[in-house]
């Protein structure tokens, strides 16, 4: 992508007057096409102006952008609320051909005062591109002022977001819910969270929080504890006597939707659908809610009774959940269509542990387990909703002397940390790369080390070793790191002749999960990948069969909670559009959301003009004894005053991005 003009991040590129093939590279990633019939020719936003094509009108873009700033202004500080309105009125005069040079000068003065003094990003970062427009397109401004130029009639879609929000797959209005907590309006905060997701507790406890990696506060001191504040908002409702907003919603639509799978994605989609007035039934294979969040996330990270209470909210809203229904057997597409279900959301996740691909794996040797299965066993037998006594070794869960867990993702972490809690004394990880390449959350790795897990890096399993028909150990091969592979991580290479046996009486394979999509035999039109995931439109989550939608791990492959919830939110919207007979597709605002995400709403190198030294609040954790000796929740949650102070650290980095969109396909 080439650029005609840019002031992005204060670096001016001006290719005006040059032939198109002499244009330089565009400093940001912008799509040429806005949608099938429109092209994106220019962008104005928090970081400056970028023009990629000749068909644009800078004055009109700046005028519309200013109007968007004023509209987005929350009204909670003087300069932004009034200042952007004064700017808007000046633009009004200019566009009407009544502007004066003094007006243009005043725009510059206003911008300085607004951006230096405003409360949040709208005022702080918003006005700068307007000044740049005045500076570099002065002739156009004068032409408009003198009435020589008239409105061009291009369109200007925009989106208000924030770096954190932009990083969140659910598009949650993070600054707003943080502000709710800061103001002591915890119920309002939770209501904001629930606009994006019904899983405040689950996400607040176990999300991998991409938002915190996009937090501008990190440029000042430390990123905000966004994830745990979400948990606080939910805990506050849970622990206090408040009127919980759970009255059954009115069904304003006659259509019924079947959601397959009561995991985070399925439950979330059910929520978005019921908010739109549809009848929703969730069909779940297991007798419990939560899917992978129930079976795969141990009690010490999300206590099961907490999850039960969280899901109660959905039930209160009117979501019907049917348990022990194996889709494809007990219910099928045909049978449900026959019962009047007008759309399907497939959210069956991935619950089959991948095989390690080692010798002897097919021999059904006792003592070899899949990670997901063993976690489910532990959940079912040990941690239902009671906290086990230290040293408890229930019969139903295999108790080895030495356990080897192969893999280094979060599932592997959950396995080793669970076995530490079960009292196993020799708990080991076997991983073919090094600590640096581990896909697990660094926080989890740190905790597991603290709890006594031993790590064996640069080691790949090759063979299951038995003695007298019983598992005796795992033969492994030493590895060394070669050049980076397609995942960007350095590829491990086997060291020949380094095979040796590690003794163990239990081996858990935690290297990933596969999806069970056997039920799709009935609908062969739905496309699948070679990894046994479902292919959908990546914007709408609709499959090739119009009434079938899918999301979560069954689409992305085993990934994470929040992505699954994000899929559900989009799919919920698409199903609504489909059932109401509307065009299924993203709105202009959502397209802008994607444009902004492509540009990158967060810049880790930005110098943020804010005084530093306001420390992030520490999360209180349970006692050492509870930590390794029981399945009690490790993180205790912020007390209210800490939550409110932590929330006050938020800088409300709202930003506005606007595109200039012209008719015609991209060239």
């Amino acid at each position: 992508m080439k650029v005609l003009f840019s002031t992005w991040k204060d670096k001016v590129i001006d290719n005006r007057g040059k032939p198109q093939d002499a244009w330089t590279d565009c400093p940001v990633k912008l799509p040429a096409a806005f949608d099938a019939n429109r092209k994106l020719t220019a962008f104005m936003g928090w970081g400056g102006i970028v023009v990629t094509e000749g068909q644009f009108d800078m004055v009109e873009l700046a005028a519309n952008y200013t109007r968007a700033l004023q509209k987005s202004s929350c009204g909670k500080c003087f300069p932004c609320r009034v200042g952007t309105r004064v700017m808007q009125d000046i633009f009004g005069k200019i566009m009407d051909g009544k502007g004066t040079p003094a007006d243009i000068k005043q725009l510059e003065e206003l911008c300085d005062s607004i951006s230096k003094n405003s409360k949040c990003g709208i005022g702080q970062l918003g006005p700068e591109p307007v000044v740049q427009a005045v500076q570099y397109f002065k002739d156009d401004f004068i032409a408009y002022s003198e009435g020589r130029k008239k409105a061009s009639g291009l369109s200007y879609p925009y989106k208000m977001t924030a770096p954190c929000t932009s990083a969140c797959p659910t598009g949650m209005d993070i600054p707003l819910y943080i502000e709710g907590i800061k103001e002591g309006n915890h119920a309002g905060s939770l209501a904001t969270i629930r606009q994006a997701s019904p899983m405040a507790s689950t996400l607040g406890r176990a999300c991998f929080h991409p938002c915190e990696n996009n937090c501008r506060r990190d440029n000042v001191d430390k990123s905000l504890s966004i994830c745990k504040l979400k948990r606080f908002a939910w805990d506050y409702e849970d622990q206090h006597v408040v009127d919980k907003p759970g009255n059954p919603l009115k069904h304003t639509r006659p259509e019924k939707v079947a959601v397959i799978g009561a995991g985070p994605s399925g439950l979330s989609c059910a929520y978005y659908l019921i908010l739109q007035g549809f009848h929703v039934t969730v069909f779940e294979k297991l007798p419990t809610v939560g899917g992978a969040a129930w079976t795969g996330i141990p009690h010490y990270r999300i206590p099961k009774h907490i999850m039960t209470r969280e899901v109660q909210y959905l039930k209160d809203l009117g979501v019907e959940i049917k348990f022990n229904v194996n889709f494809g057997k007990d219910a099928t597409f045909a049978s449900l269509r026959g019962k009047g279900y007008k759309a399907f959301f497939l959210a069956t996740g991935g619950d089959i542990s991948k095989e390690m691909g080692v010798e002897g794996e097919k021999d059904n040797i006792p003592g070899v387990y899949g990670g997901i299965g063993i976690l489910k066993d532990i959940t079912d037998n040990v941690t239902k909703d009671v906290v086990p006594v230290p040293g408890l070794k229930p019969n139903a869960v295999p108790m080895p002397k030495t356990v080897l867990v192969v893999g280094a993702g979060n599932t592997a972490m959950d396995c080793v940390r669970s076995y530490i809690r079960l009292g196993c004394e020799d708990v080991n990880i076997v991983y073919r790369r090094t600590k640096k390449e581990m896909p697990a959350d660094p926080h989890e790795v740190h905790e597991s080390e603290d709890e006594g897990v031993k790590y064996n890096f640069l080691l790949a399993p090759t063979k299951l070793v038995t003695e007298n028909g019983k598992l005796a150990g795992l033969e492994c091969q030493k590895m060394e790191l070669g050049p980076p592979d397609e995942s960007g991580r350095r590829k491990p290479m086997a060291v020949k002749g380094s095979e040796h046996v590690i003794k163990a009486d239990m081996i858990i394979s935690a290297i990933g999960q596969d999806c069970d999509i056997a039920y799709l035999k009935e609908e062969p039109t739905v496309q699948t990948t070679k990894w046994k995931t479902i292919v959908t439109n990546e914007e709408t989550f609709q499959t090739a069969v119009p009434d079938v939608f899918a999301g979560g791990d069954v689409v992305s492959g085993p990934l994470n909670l929040v992505t699954a919830v994000g899929h559900a939110r989009r799919a919920g919207q698409s199903i609504g559009q489909f059932l109401r007979g509307e065009q299924v597709g993203p709105s202009d605002e959502q397209r802008m959301e994607k444009v902004i995400a492509g540009i990158g709403a967060y810049d880790k190198d930005e110098a943020v003009p804010q005084a530093k030294g306001w420390e992030r609040k520490a999360m209180p954790i349970c006692s050492r004894h509870d930590k390794v000796g029981s399945f009690n929740e490790v993180e205790l949650g912020y007390p209210m005053e800490d939550a409110m102070e932590e929330a006050a650290r938020c800088m409300r980095c709202y930003i506005v991005g606007m595109a200039c969109v012209a008719p015609g396909g991209a060239q």
């Binding site: 004023q70 509209k71 987005s72 202004s73 929350c74 009204g75 909670k76 500080c77 003087f78 300069p79 609320r81 009034v82 200042g83 952007t84 309105r85 004064v86 009125d89 009004g92 005043q106 003065e109 206003l110 005062s113 951006s115 230096k116 003094n117 405003s118 409360k119 702080q124 800061k182 103001e183 002591g184 309006n185 915890h186 119920a187 430390k222 504890s225 506050y236 622990q239 206090h240 006597v241 408040v242 660094p442 926080h443 740190h446 110098a607 003009p609 804010q610 005084a611 530093k612 030294g613 306001w614 992030r616 520490a618 999360m619 007390p639 209210m640 005053e641 800490d642 409110m644 006050a648």
Partner: protein, 856 residues
């Protein structure tokens, strides 16, 4: 990970402000740090008692290394900061912020209520703003919105958010919100409808401009008003406020932020309930009965007439009985009891607080032995868990709730409510327990039992529980538990756990506990709870000087300062009412008390007054009690006299004369002194300070009263380590009988509010559907409704000896079974018959206590 691990930090932070090295507490904002060290930073939206808002951007400063101005009110200090609070650049930005506001702020100063005390006006002046560089187009004026006593003028509003934040944070209501975005954003009620709130007026008091105003005060300019700092006369909190007068007429009440026992907070009664002082209905001259009516006379005649009557009885000890007043000053009450004891030789005096709630009246120290029944508000705020017992926190003594909220928001304290109805409190309480009125004592006892069990299992929290006490308790608590349902028992267990977990509980005792037929036992056991848990106890008192009237010895057998009466001839063996009934007493003097209205046992009182040969009533109004008198003397209200009130903390506070006495009314202390003089004894009082001096000399408890501060109650307490034990008395039950629990309106409570027309307009707001077609609500639990066959909106007939009235049933799950709730406004009678579905159901009013008849 390391980012979430706490590290030890120094308690202070060193930084440089304007070149001076300073050290301030960690966590302080730059604004506080600067002000602490004498540097001035202008502010507009900032309020000390709530979280920093940060909307006005006027308090900007420069911090080295930060490119933009830094808002000092929202930025905490950190080590090594180099701060400049003032230079030309900052000044210009500050001017800009005010100029932004002036873009659309109408210069209506000549007709604006805030003019002269407007912070925008002051800042504009202070910053020397003479230019008006920016403007917007098409700005149209919008009409002022009338929210009842409060009005909102959006044209004047600068959107500083003070009103919204104080409402949520201090008042706990969140009745206001910001509506819309950008330039057209405005303050609105949360519902978008008329304001539905406590009408505390906090929003009005903090509005820096004239956007929020009050309709009843729009009559004087700020510079025309004189301000007198005094103490509120409505309830026992003892809020400090300023009576604002213009040419001798009260025009409004204001308070100063963070000042006084109330820290500047006031409730609707304090803020808007001043009209009674200069009401048309005030008594202006002495009246002497002539046949069925009264004849106006002068003081000399009236006092002479009374003195003649009393002289005839002065020889007989106890022949004259008296009722003192919870709303009169300490000086008034002291003079009153002195007149009785020294001039009339009678110890037959009492007050309604003591008669209605003897457990918390004069006998409080007797009953509670070693725990002060009161703690200071500062101590209160240190609590981690507030256990409300028999308290409707949002309606009784509302300013106490403001303090609790401060602790809840400030250091994460929690609240647990125990009430005979599902009570409302904000922020959301941790627990909300509902007991049946008849089992209130059992509930307290069961909780005490749970706490004792917990102490046994997990170790002591407060004082050790004596072995013998523990044994008795175990059995009693077991019995008590059988009276309660399983859910409540489980909740009480949970509450006991919460008390241990949170530590430092404060037990706050409301009117329902104090007026309960088993009040003595209830309060006693709450005291035991406090003792066993190492907690504090705060007994909330209803009137402005409920504590003082008892401290001043307007009680039988107890002298000022709780000295015991030793003179046998002044001892009293019966209560005032019984004395009159048995003709042991022949005359009655009632001072500043509407006995016939306030006492639920008024029938007996009325008979007593009939039996008395001679009755004098001293009051501000022509009350039902005054109507039954032989002589009526007009007394001053607290706004017209000097003196002191003792609030529920035990803080002795100066009451100051803000306006001249209405008509010929005189302060009570003066009336008593005048009467004594007529009878030949000169008290030697020329002013209220003379009385105060005498109290300070003669009553050790009040020796420091002229210095202010708390009365040293702790000195009085026996240091008995014993816990007094009171067995639960099962209430005498009349099968099928119900308890009538009258509900207060927040706005109308006590005599004064009857004469405040503005407050009365709010009653309908509070009881949203108080009267529908002339029928007040009768709240009944679903269980009772089913039992009695009462349906929603059914008409219920109530018969009292005085009259009959109809109510309409509301089936309300928030009401405990065994009781019905009606508005306090309705005819209160000890015994009422309710007719429902053709059946007559006997009902006993929870207030009908004294005669014993009402005990159910």
């Amino acid at each position: 990970m390391s980012q979430d691990t706490a590290t030890e930090q120094k308690a202070t932070v060193s930084l440089s402000i304007n070149g001076r090295a300073v050290e301030v507490p960690r966590g302080a904002t730059l604004l506080k740090a600067a002000r602490m060290n004498g540097f001035k930073i202008p502010t507009l939206c900032y309020l000390d008692k709530i979280h920093s808002i940060g909307s006005c951007r006027v308090c900007s400063v420069e911090v080295e290394g930060v490119a933009s101005p830094v808002m000092s009110c929202v930025t905490p200090v950190s080590d090594g900061m180099v701060v400049t609070t003032d230079n030309e650049r900052i000044k210009e930005y500050r001017r800009n912020m005010i100029q932004f506001i002036l873009v659309n702020h109408p210069l209506d100063c000549p007709v604006c209520e805030r003019s002269g005390e407007c912070q925008l006006q002051n800042l504009t002046y202070e910053l020397g703003i003479t230019k008006h560089p920016w403007e917007t187009e098409g700005h149209k004026k919008v009409p002022v919105v009338d929210w009842g006593l409060i009005r909102y003028d959006r044209n004047l509003c600068i959107m500083c958010e003070r009103c919204i934040d104080i409402c949520r944070e201090v008042q706990g209501l969140a009745a206001l919100k910001i509506d819309g975005t950008g330039y057209y954003s405005k303050v609105n009620t949360v519902t978008g409808e008329k304001l539905d709130c406590d009408f505390c007026g906090q929003c009005w008091s903090v509005c820096p401009v004239g956007a929020i105003s009050s309709g009843i005060t729009f009559s004087a300019r700020s510079w025309e008003m004189e301000k007198t700092e005094t103490i509120c006369y409505h309830c026992g909190v003892g809020c400090s406020f300023h009576v604002n007068t213009k040419q001798g007429k009260i025009v409004r009440i204001t308070s100063r932020d963070t000042v006084g026992a109330n820290r500047g907070n006031l409730c609707s009664r304090g803020r808007f309930g001043f009209e009674f002082v200069q009401s048309q209905d005030r008594l202006t001259a002495p009246l002497i009965r002539k046949g069925h009516g009264f004849e106006t006379t002068d003081w000399d005649t009236a006092l002479g007439y009374i003195a003649d009557k009393l002289k005839q009885l002065a020889g007989q000890h106890g022949a004259v009985a008296g009722i003192g007043s919870e709303r009169a000053t300490n000086e008034d009450n002291y003079a009153f009891q002195k007149f009785f004891r020294e001039v009339l030789g009678s110890g037959n005096i009492d007050n309604l607080a003591n008669m209605a709630a003897p457990a918390t009246g004069a006998g409080i120290f007797e009953a509670i032995s070693d725990i002060p029944a009161t703690c200071s508000f500062d101590e209160l705020k240190q609590g981690n868990l507030f256990v409300f017992i028999g308290l409707d926190g949002s309606n009784e003594n509302p300013v106490v709730s403001n303090h609790l909220r401060e602790a809840i928001v400030g250091h994460g304290a929690e609240a647990a409510l125990l009430y005979s109805k599902e009570a409302f409190f904000f922020p959301a309480p941790k627990m909300n327990l509902m007991y049946g009125y008849a089992t209130m004592h059992h509930t307290v006892l069961a909780l005490l039992g749970r706490v004792a069990k917990d102490v046994k299992a997990n170790g002591s929290m407060g004082s050790d529980i004596p072995q013998s006490f523990a044994q008795t308790l175990e059995l009693a608590a077991q019995n008590a538990e059988t009276m309660l349902d399983a859910a409540l028992n489980a909740q009480l267990g949970e509450l006991a756990g919460l008390i241990r977990k949170k530590k430092d509980p404060v037990f706050i005792v409301g009117q329902e506990a104090q007026r309960h037929p088993q009040a003595a036992a209830i309060v006693q056991n709450i005291a035991n709870l406090a003792r066993a848990t190492g907690g504090r106890l705060m007994v909330l008192r209803e009137y402005c000087n409920t504590l003082g009237v008892n401290d001043m010895g307007v009680t039988p057998n107890v002298l000022p300062g709780y000295a015991k009466e030793t003179r046998p001839e002044l001892k009293s063996h019966k209560n005032v009412c019984d004395q009159l009934h048995s003709h042991d007493a022949k005359a009655l003097i009632i001072a500043d008390e509407d006995v016939l209205r306030r006492s639920a046992d008024f029938l007996k009182f009325r008979d007593a007054m009939d039996k008395a040969e001679f009755t004098v009533v001293i009051d501000h109004f022509y009350t039902p009690t005054a109507m039954a008198a032989d002589v009526i003397l007009p007394s001053c209200t607290a706004a017209e006299k000097d003196g002191t009130f003792t609030n529920i903390e035990g803080r002795i506070q100066r009451v100051r004369r803000a306006v001249a006495p209405v008509g010929q009314s005189r302060p009570l202390w003066q009336i008593m002194a005048d009467l004594a003089k007529k009878m030949g004894t000169d008290f030697g009082y020329k002013n209220a300070v003379n009385v105060s001096m005498e109290i300070a000399t003669k009553v050790p408890l009040y020796r420091d009263m002229l210095k202010g501060g708390l009365a040293p109650y702790k000195e009085l307490l026996a240091d008995a380590s014993r816990m007094k034990w009171v067995d639960p008395v099962p209430m005498k039950e009349t099968p099928g009988a119900m308890t009538v629990l009258p509900e207060h309106s927040l706005f109308v409570m006590g005599l004064y509010t009857d004469y405040c027309p503005s407050l009365r307009t709010l009653v309908g707001k509070h009881f949203a559907d108080f009267h529908v077609e002339g029928k007040p609500y009768v709240d009944i639990s679903p269980k009772d409704a089913e039992l009695l066959g009462v349906g929603e909106e059914d008409t219920l007939l109530f018969k009292t000896p005085r009259k009959e009235w109809k109510g309409r049933a509301r089936i309300n799950a928030q009401v405990a079974s065994g009781s019905i709730r009606i508005p306090d406004e309705m005819d209160q009678f000890p015994k009422v018959t309710m007719v429902a579905g053709g059946k007559e159901i006997p009902c006993y009013n929870s207030r009908g206590l004294e005669s014993g008849e009402g005990k159910c």
